[in-house]
Symmetry: C2
Subunit: 344 residues, 2 copies
């Protein structure tokens, strides 16, 4: 049984989407014990309406948290003004060993601060990082990280992202000896900035399948399993890609709907389009794992619906099952100079 | 009549693609005088075969350059070892006033060094930058810059990219009072790095339609006309987007071809798909203008075919017609502190 703390008040559609997601996850996963963190007065009367009753109710409990972090709050508000916010209380549960992981669709910055400062980072990890698992053209998946937890990363941070991504790819995605790259502006060794060249040098020394520099196109062509970059770049790439894919599909639909014959054709290709869209659908992943913290943390999109929340809870369970943090810790201990992997 | 120097030996398909492109451009544009720079012994016998004869021949000439920059050469090779390379000689023609602009599909770094060091930068411009003109979902275009000329840009560089992009959008694309943004990881004012915040502060002070922070998604949604960023980020975004769009279209086609009914539908939507693909086709733009140099410089994709080379020459002509560099110089003089716009 894994104990997941769900930030019930986080996300644009909370608590409706979180209640729906909680119900879906409890129904689907017998090994889930759900700690629903939020305003008890609001949530309690809604549980039954969302099907959380009977035997399902036995595998969950409400944990009261009267405050909510809003988009106007600073990420650090959870450390001072909003200590009783749902995300902070959820993180506290992990810190106290009452939960194995947290899931939040709320304020991304606040969820990261809660994970880093309240849950805490693993020994040896300088900076936890957010990993996006993206579908590639070969039908496999590519892990891009960091996608927003860290701006202005140094060489050693990017090298650590790569390392954590490799562990994730191997343990959770089941990719044997994942091909790891550092994002740069050319595949040749010398290309890039001082920071990316430094990261590449560090990774070359490790017992890792480090391929070398990756370029933007390598995120999609399946030539790499893990691509590490600074969070500013990764975040821009992720947001751009999401909008480009949506925009492209929208343009195709619009163009198809513009004529009678193509409209007929459009009807015939609907199932084929649906298959492609399902592969691209970010809601399938549920959320991005924050790697390098002392517990599982899945951070989702603010606009997540119930299905996405359910999938995010599934992602948390999978990370728990694979003991992803223990594996990251083992890898750091094995691969990095001993001095680096001590409690800091 | 505009005089364009074409690097005949640059690009994966040179000189076949450049000969084809030269022919197409000479046929299409009466106001083009083409200086074809490359190995005379190779090129001269091929001209007639590619249709460059009769009246067309009167609007072009061969300029001999015995050396070629290869992908194994360093970008700076044109300054020392390869002074007689086609790209270097082409740049020299602009420097000497014998040509108004250069077009090259060869080694991007070498083309940039040639443009910056041989042609020279405009007074007041710290760093020329490469601009990509991208189609957005509203059917308009968004200028993303820098897409690879500069790594590790400082605030003042990004602000200058924004300024040059705004002039390009207004003068060449005809967008009145273009909406300008600085790429960041959140739309709120304080979001981003010290560098992006600094660029935003500088731009706020100028008489410019500066909207604020843009995010990755804003490259495609049509909410901005110009988005400025460091060249590492821009280059990664451009390469990723190209591969994602290609991959997505490939996946859709593959999925359609997998079944009989959808294959029939696929045949019916072919013209609709073609319309979308045409909008996305990078070969339509021909190449990216390098802004901020003392003459027009269009830098294209290494894998450009004849059609793309022709379009790149057209892009050079358009930039000449709009006197893009004079306009950039005027804007810098008008908007930036006087001290900055002196010959450096």
């Amino acid at each position: 049984m894994y104990r997941i703390a769900l930030d019930m008040m986080g996300g644009d559609l909370a608590p409706y989407a979180t209640l729906e997601g909680a119900h879906a996850a409890l129904t689907r996963h017998d090994d889930l014990y759900l700690l629903m963190v939020g305003d008890e007065a609001i949530l309690k009367p809604m549980l039954a309406k969302y099907g959380i009753k009977g035997p399902l109710l036995e595998r969950c409990e409400l944990v009261h948290a009267p405050e909510v972090v809003t988009m106007d709050d600073k990420a650090t508000a959870i450390l001072k003004e909003k200590k009783s916010s749902s995300i902070r209380v959820a993180a506290q549960l992990v810190r106290e060993g009452r939960a194995d992981g947290i899931v939040s669709m709320g304020h991304t910055g606040a969820a990261m601060v809660a994970s880093k400062m309240v849950v805490g980072t693993l020994p040896g990890v300088d900076r936890p990082c957010l990993a996006a698992v993206l579908p590639n053209i070969k039908g496999d998946r590519t892990v891009l990280l960091d996608v927003g937890a860290n701006l202005d990363s140094k060489s050693e941070h990017i090298a650590q992202f790569a390392l954590m991504g490799a562990v994730y790819a191997e343990e959770v995605l089941g990719i044997k000896s994942p091909r790891v790259g550092v994002l740069s502006v050319g595949e040749e060794d010398g290309k890039g900035t001082e920071t990316t060249r430094g990261a590449a040098s560090l990774l070359k020394e490790l017992e890792l399948n480090f391929v070398g520099n990756a370029e933007g196109r390598d995120i999609w062509n399946g030539n790499f399993d893990v691509i590490a970059c600074d969070g500013f770049v990764g975040n821009s790439l992720l947001k751009s890609s999401e909008a480009l894919a949506e925009g492209l599909v929208h343009s195709i639909k619009e163009s198809i709907m513009a004529g009678f014959v193509s409209r007929l054709g459009g009807a015939l290709i609907k199932p084929a389009m649906k298959r492609v869209m399902k592969k691209l659908d970010y809601s399938e992943a549920g959320g991005a794992p924050l790697l390098g913290v002392k517990g599982v943390s899945i951070i989702g999109h603010g606009r997540s619906d119930g299905k996405t929340v359910g999938n995010a809870i599934r992602a948390a369970l999978v990370a728990c099952e694979h003991q992803i943090n223990d594996r990251i810790h083992d890898s750091l201990e094995r691969l990095l100079p001993q001095a680096a992997v001590t409690e800091s």
